[in-house]
Symmetry: C2
Subunit: 424 residues, 2 copies
């Protein structure tokens, strides 16, 4: 019985896979201030041309640019591992696999989209990217990618995380990026939130407002985002594609796929390539998206048009949302503190193809501790949501006797989150 | 021109390579209190049988136990990367390659020996391992390995590093190990150093004394060490073996190999397999061992019999040493603060086959910052010694026009050392 798939570069896909042409219907398009659908030209004030192309394409296969493929080769394919020790401890008949996205130099799946985004900016001659980051995984990955492609980076980091994880700032600085806590006094949006509360903990929505405001006022710069958009989901498809080849090598096929959701991209990344197979006649799979109870976008939010940011500077997207002004309490899984959800993920929840659940912080940290002790890999607090749900599903299988093959996405490592595990 | 070697499991060696049978002469054996050579039976109070076998074997090839090979497959082979960006920035004609050992779950090369050591303890029915750690890389790797093989772990961590890097303790605890600062009041050795200085910063030599003292007083436990010994050098040979295959795939062969040295094992790991080739008719290679100026074992120490620890509890080894009582100042590269040096590395320095140099902390941290910005990978402070020497060698090549192919070992990542980069 194999524990690992082999990991040569022959397992590395050369194209992204696009779920859109395989869906029974497409999500409604984003709309502008007057309520009419937005075309690609409206996005060009924010994004490089390559990103807009990836955002709107309906091609089933999209070639990965050669320079990006080169950069992926440092750390891809990422390992797919059978969790024998966890299975044994849970006394479950279920087989549990995880795809480990923490082996790259920035430590999470975010590099999968940071690299093409930095590449597209460089290709258009853009000299600076502005972005937001929650817990710092996205800012870290993008700073690494910007360093690689010679682009300046300006990061608005949600204040709650900025205070919890100060070394993220050091990491981003070392790769050449600059970071400030959001809300900040650098933007009109930031100042308005600081006026209401000088100690405002911030939110991803506010940080996005600040980043977008800066980009709209600058020449020669662009905005970059780490989740939510169709293009980001496209880039993350590399996770699921590798997993398909690796599961094949293991001689198994998943009956359930689990990932955490904040904006939805790591979930989309592992799920969509398998969903494509299911929608084109492949075996049925249960897809489980796990969010934190304090930010229950899919389980308690509403499906409606809403802004992507807190100040109404972005287009409006048809998505599950808690309201653009929602500020979740500061949990350790800062990457999951987003009021909205990727329109593609939202649409699939509406279609009944994705099963959303919510877990609380205590339960997910406990699962992360157990996983670390048993499997010897330390997950990020965000990833613990997937770990906890996988454990629950395996325990269910023990009770029902159901033959399950569970695959979950271990989206990043927790080296910079150790303090979260310390404070019980 | 390739940037990376491919990384399938077909590049993973199934045997360790042993440099001893290829040397013109062997290092003198360790000696006991009466000055007579120690046989394997004397080591059995401290080590599992498998470790003693690996310590004394003269076989050129030693099979890697199957369970250890399984565990290696999570992260091995590790990537070998051409440093194109660094070459460009240095305007050097030299080709620079690095072997990156930071992709595994504990983040450094130490896992290569932690896994067989935990495995051998488990095979002998030993329930607990006691060890020392400097900066914490060894303690982290061993805690991960012990978790994997179901063994308890007790770690004495050098106090200077314990205070500098508190999250190392959290990491070790999460994997099921316990940690205390050394010198501690748990041992006679520890108490004697605390009496002389209640705020004693500790040293690897003192921490080894404490760990050995505990093991000698316990049934059913063994001692484990992260560097220095012949067995550890043997385990690390997997680094160099993979590098030989990977350099071959790149179509090049190194003219210089560089690694940092504390106890000597990551250096031995990357160097010895290439040295074997050189000693059996292969091309000539310059081997450069880089130590910190504040702990200049090879460049200012003496080659003589000395204790491995500070209290004289271990056998005496023929090695370069600054004296068993030497306490280096607390630098960030805590893993290099050892008074002695692996007998095999010492012997090769004496034979003129290794070229030792010393670098100061400021220079190595500066090199690490530059490397991170250019190559997008954050090195541990220890590894920065190799980075700095590789950069100097590449600059020399620019001036002399010499055609060089430099290969250095990037022994671990710096996620838990970010504070070192912060305090300029």
């Amino acid at each position: 019985m194999r524990r690992f798939s082999s990991r040569g570069h022959d397992f590395l896909p050369t194209e992204y896979t696009n779920i859109k042409p395989f869906l029974p219907s497409l999500p409604p398009p984003p709309i502008g201030p007057d309520g009419s659908p937005l075309g690609p030209e409206a996005l060009s004030v924010l994004f490089p041309s390559g990103m807009i192309q990836h955002e709107i394409t309906l091609e089933p296969r999209v070639p990965i640019p050669e320079d990006v493929l080169e950069a992926y080769k440092v750390y891809r394919p990422s390992p797919l591992i059978r969790a024998f020790e966890l299975e044994r401890a849970l006394e479950t008949p279920a087989h549990i696999y995880y795809k480990y996205e923490g082996t790259n130099p920035a430590g999470s799946h975010k590099s999968n989209t940071a690299l093409p985004q930095a590449y597209f900016a460089a290709r258009d001659g853009i000299s600076r990217i502005t972005t937001e980051t929650g817990a710092g995984q996205w800012g870290s990955a993008l700073s690494q990618a910007c360093g690689r492609f010679g682009i300046d980076l300006d990061v608005f980091m949600v204040r709650a995380s900025y205070l919890q994880k100060p070394l993220r700032k050091t990491f981003i600085n070392m790769h050449g990026g600059s970071v400030c806590a959001s809300p900040s006094d650098r933007t009109r949006s930031g100042r308005s939130f600081l006026e209401s509360d000088p100690e405002h903990p911030g939110s991803l929505g506010i940080a996005i407002s600040e980043a977008v405001e800066v980009v709209l006022s600058e020449e020669d710069s662009c905005y970059s985002l780490g989740s939510v958009s169709d293009a980001v989901c496209l880039h993350q498809s590399i996770i699921g594609q590798e997993s398909i080849l690796q599961m094949e090598e293991m001689g198994e096929y998943p009956t359930e796929i689990i990932a955490c959701v904040g904006g939805g991209s790591n979930f989309a990344g592992i799920a969509f390539p398998f969903l494509e197979k299911m929608l084109t006649g492949g075996e049925k799979i249960k897809f489980t998206a796990v969010e934190p109870t304090v930010c229950p976008t899919l389980t308690k939010g509403k499906l409606m048009y809403d802004f992507g940011d807190a100040s109404g500077l972005t287009p409006r997207y048809m998505m599950y949302t808690l309201g653009a002004g929602f500020v979740p309490p500061p949990i350790h899984a800062g990457g999951l503190r987003y009021h909205g959800m990727a329109p593609l993920v939202s649409h699939l929840v509406k279609l009944g193809l994705i099963n959303p659940v919510a877990y609380n912080q205590q339960k997910t940290l406990k699962a992360g501790r157990e996983f670390t002790r048993l499997e010897g890999i330390l997950p990020a607090p965000e990833s613990n949501h997937a770990v906890a749900a996988a454990m629950d599903s395996a325990i269910e299988a023990r009770e029902s006797g159901e033959k399950k093959v569970i695959l979950f996405n271990l989206s990043g490592h927790g080296f910079l989150d150790l303090a979260a595990y310390e404070n019980r």
